[in-house]
Amino acid sequence: LSSPFSQSLRLVAPIGNRSTRGIHQLGGAVDPESSQKKRRTMLQYLSDHFYDVEFLRGYFLQNKMDKVHQKNRSFAHLEETHGPNNAGAFFILKQGGAVKFRDKEWIRPDKYGHFSQEFWNFSEVPVEAVDASDCAINYEGLENLHLLKELQSLSLQRCPHMDDWCLSRLYPLADSLQELSLAGCPRISERGLACLHHLQNLRRLDISNLPSVSNPGLTQILVEEMLPNCKVVGVNLAEGLKLGPEEQPQDTDRPIPA
């Protein structure tokens, strides 16, 4: 008598997990529901029954996303006045990352976000290394990183917004980049790692702890094939193998010599 889609024909369609169960499984990550279920049931119930709560939740979500966009706004206007290196360094320091100019010390913001302003006086000193770990850098923000033409070492560990699209934006740094670390980024998968083949000067690549990579061992081997001059660090290929009585405990990189 009533079709399975009669629920969706109501003018105010119920949002939330109840109505999405009828749709096929989405290809990709599904949140582990068990622990968060109890905490979110009250919120879900309120969202489903009150427009105000639904609107407020949407508003806070939008606010969070807007904050990330604000952090990644374009700093190109500083390029004319202060030079590309200083503009790029300012962008990284504003985000909470650390910067190292050539022949100078690391400049790091303290826990309040303040950092030393002396780098504005450096003229034409290139930035050698950037440590943007735990920063909210995303696709738009990487455009600001292109200003640093002589960057040699880039560390993007545990960045929550770095994903496969962002990795395809690293190719302008191919001439100078020698060291790259992507450890712990939750959104990077093997599809993004394949774009790193543009970085032919890369000598050290760290791809440990990438939760979205489906097959870490195989991915490491394929990446090593792709970048023959690069040392790829990150996956313990002997993990899960039983050690024989004559074998020594292996170290983390490359237990089998290439």
């Binding site: 008598l1 009533s2 105010v12 599809r191």
Partner: protein, 486 residues
């Protein structure tokens, strides 16, 4: 009192003895009659949909402002943008009518899933760029509270188009246009190609264009489901049914030259339910034709093309279904992880799939070789004769490969100029088209959806100017040819 009586009756468990079965004799079938009576009474009781005569909860509503015929990626994209750009929350009532909610023949679900900006028309490049930025931020656009984020499985490796001597000049021109419009494409000579991709045999290749950013392939099913989920949460109604009739009213008007023109306005859409003869007349203000490979039938229902040829009334919608095959093969020595989607000079294309040395690919047949679009049966001889030789010639490693799987899908092929039709029809005033994209509909869906929504809500194209994609070009004969179609 009545509910209690009914619940008492329902609680009889499976072990209670049925009347008349102790001695294995006849049973009066009392149980069935009783349950039928109970069902009838329950359906009339308050708390359920009260239709004392007839339950119509499976039918679409009686009125809807916009009826979108076709629930594929283009139809859902139009629905999304209509709801997103409406001036007041709940201002538009939108109904999406889809014949097959399992999407078994939907073109987007069966496609290779690629997106690229290497077109020759600036409008196509803009549409692809817009769609790429939409897909990049898909979890902001299609965010539904309390639902898991979408994982499009986007692979950003880009497209590599190879050109022979005679096409090299055209390719260089196209790349110039693409760079002007903002696409990041680079040109490569055969030597650079061999350096970068040693598995390519560059014989016969004069030039190659390689997309560096915003190009690649993704999971179209995920996009479809994400759009559907978001659109349902925004209040769009879905209905499984087939549009069988348009009822329209017409106005006779005179042009400047005193010629009579008959303008039609569709005011009712008859939606027929699956496997039954019952239909629901839905009163509507606008109809959007996003029926993909079957758009020509929907247009014919509205009377488009019924008239003497070479007149505006007689211009049919030149979109027809064309069958295209996709083959999956395994080749252990094939191109490595970094291989892009390679589109060869002969029209063959392939891409890598996953970590396991599997490849997907196919070839667009020439006009003479067009297969019959009656069904979606796969012709394996086509692979042997027409696809494999070209593959093996371009990538020598593909001489040893093993076909694992194959399927076929439809292109909504625009026989006029292989570009989409967007916008209103000049004579049927309230029918809008969003179809005919001949194989690149899915990658341009967000942009096209936005364009149609702007046309409806604002009256003109605002973000991307698609004036050259209007229906009137079929009558005026203005072809906007797109070269890079595979």
């Amino acid at each position: 009192m009545l509910p209690r009586v009914l619940s008492l009756g329902v609680r009889r468990g499976p072990l209670t003895r049925r009347p008349g079965t102790l001695r294995g004799g006849f049973s009066l079938d009392w149980e069935e009659k009783l349950s039928e009576i109970k069902k009838k009474i329950q359906s009339v009781l308050p708390g359920t949909s009260l239709h004392p005569l007839y339950d119509s909860s499976h039918l679409p509503p009686d009125h809807s402002d916009v009826v979108i015929v076709g629930g594929g990626v283009l139809g859902l994209s139009v629905a999304y943008w209509l709801k997103k750009l409406e001036k007041q929350r709940g201002a538009l009532r939108v109904l999406v009518v889809e014949r097959d909610l399992t999407y078994s023949q939907a073109s987007s679900a069966l496609s290779l899933g690629g997106i690229h900006q290497q077109f020759s028309l600036p409008e196509n490049i803009h549409l692809s760029l817009f769609s790429a930025s939409f897909l990049r931020n898909i979890n902001e656009h299609l965010a539904v509270v309390d639902a898991p984020p979408l994982d499009l499985q986007f692979n950003p490796l880009g497209y590599l188009w190879l050109a022979s001597e005679k096409d090299a000049a055209a390719m260089e021109n196209n790349v110039k246009v693409q760079r002007q419009e903002g696409a990041k494409v680079c040109l490569m000579s055969p030597d650079q190609l061999r350096n970068k991709f040693p598995w390519i045999n560059t014989e016969g290749v004069a030039l190659a264009s390689y997309g560096m950013e915003d190009e690649g392939w993704f999971d179209p099913w995920c996009l479809l489901q994400g759009l559907r989920r978001k659109v349902q949460s925004m209040g769009v109604l879905f209905c499984q049914g087939e549009v069988t009739r348009f009822v329209s009213s017409s106005d006779r008007m005179l042009t400047k030259n005193q010629k009579e023109v008959k303008l039609k306005r569709i005011y009712e859409v008859h939606v027929k339910m699956d496997n039954s003869v019952e239909y629901q007349p839905v009163e509507c203000a606008l109809v959007i034709n996003a029926a993909g490979a079957w758009s020509a039938q929907i247009a014919a229902l509205a009377g488009i093309g019924k008239g003497p040829p070479d007149t505006l009334q007689g211009t049919k919608l030149p979109v027809e279904p064309r069958k295209r095959y996709v083959y999956v093969w395994h080749c252990p020595q094939g191109p490595g992880l970094e291989s892009p989607l390679v589109a060869d000079t002969s029209g063959t294309y392939f891409r890598r799939e996953g970590l396991g040395s599997n490849y997907l690919g196919g070839r667009s047949p020439t006009e003479e070789e067009e297969p019959d679009p009656e069904n979606l049966e796969v012709d394996h001889d086509f692979f042997q004769d027409k696809v494999w030789p070209h593959l093996a010639q371009r990538v020598p490693a593909f001489e040893t490969l093993k076909v694992q799987n194959a399927w076929a899908g439809y292109y909504d092929y625009n026989t006029f100029d292989q570009n989409g039709v967007v916008g209103p029809h000049p004579l049927v005033v309230n029918m809008f088209f969003a179809t005919g994209f001949s194989g690149h509909g899915r990658q341009q869906a967000p942009g096209v959806g936005r364009a149609v929504a702007e046309m409806i809500l604002e009256g003109r194209f605002q973000t991307i100017n698609l004036d050259s994609f209007l229906f009137s070009r079929f009558y005026l004969g203005e072809k906007i040819q797109e070269d890079n179609i595979i």
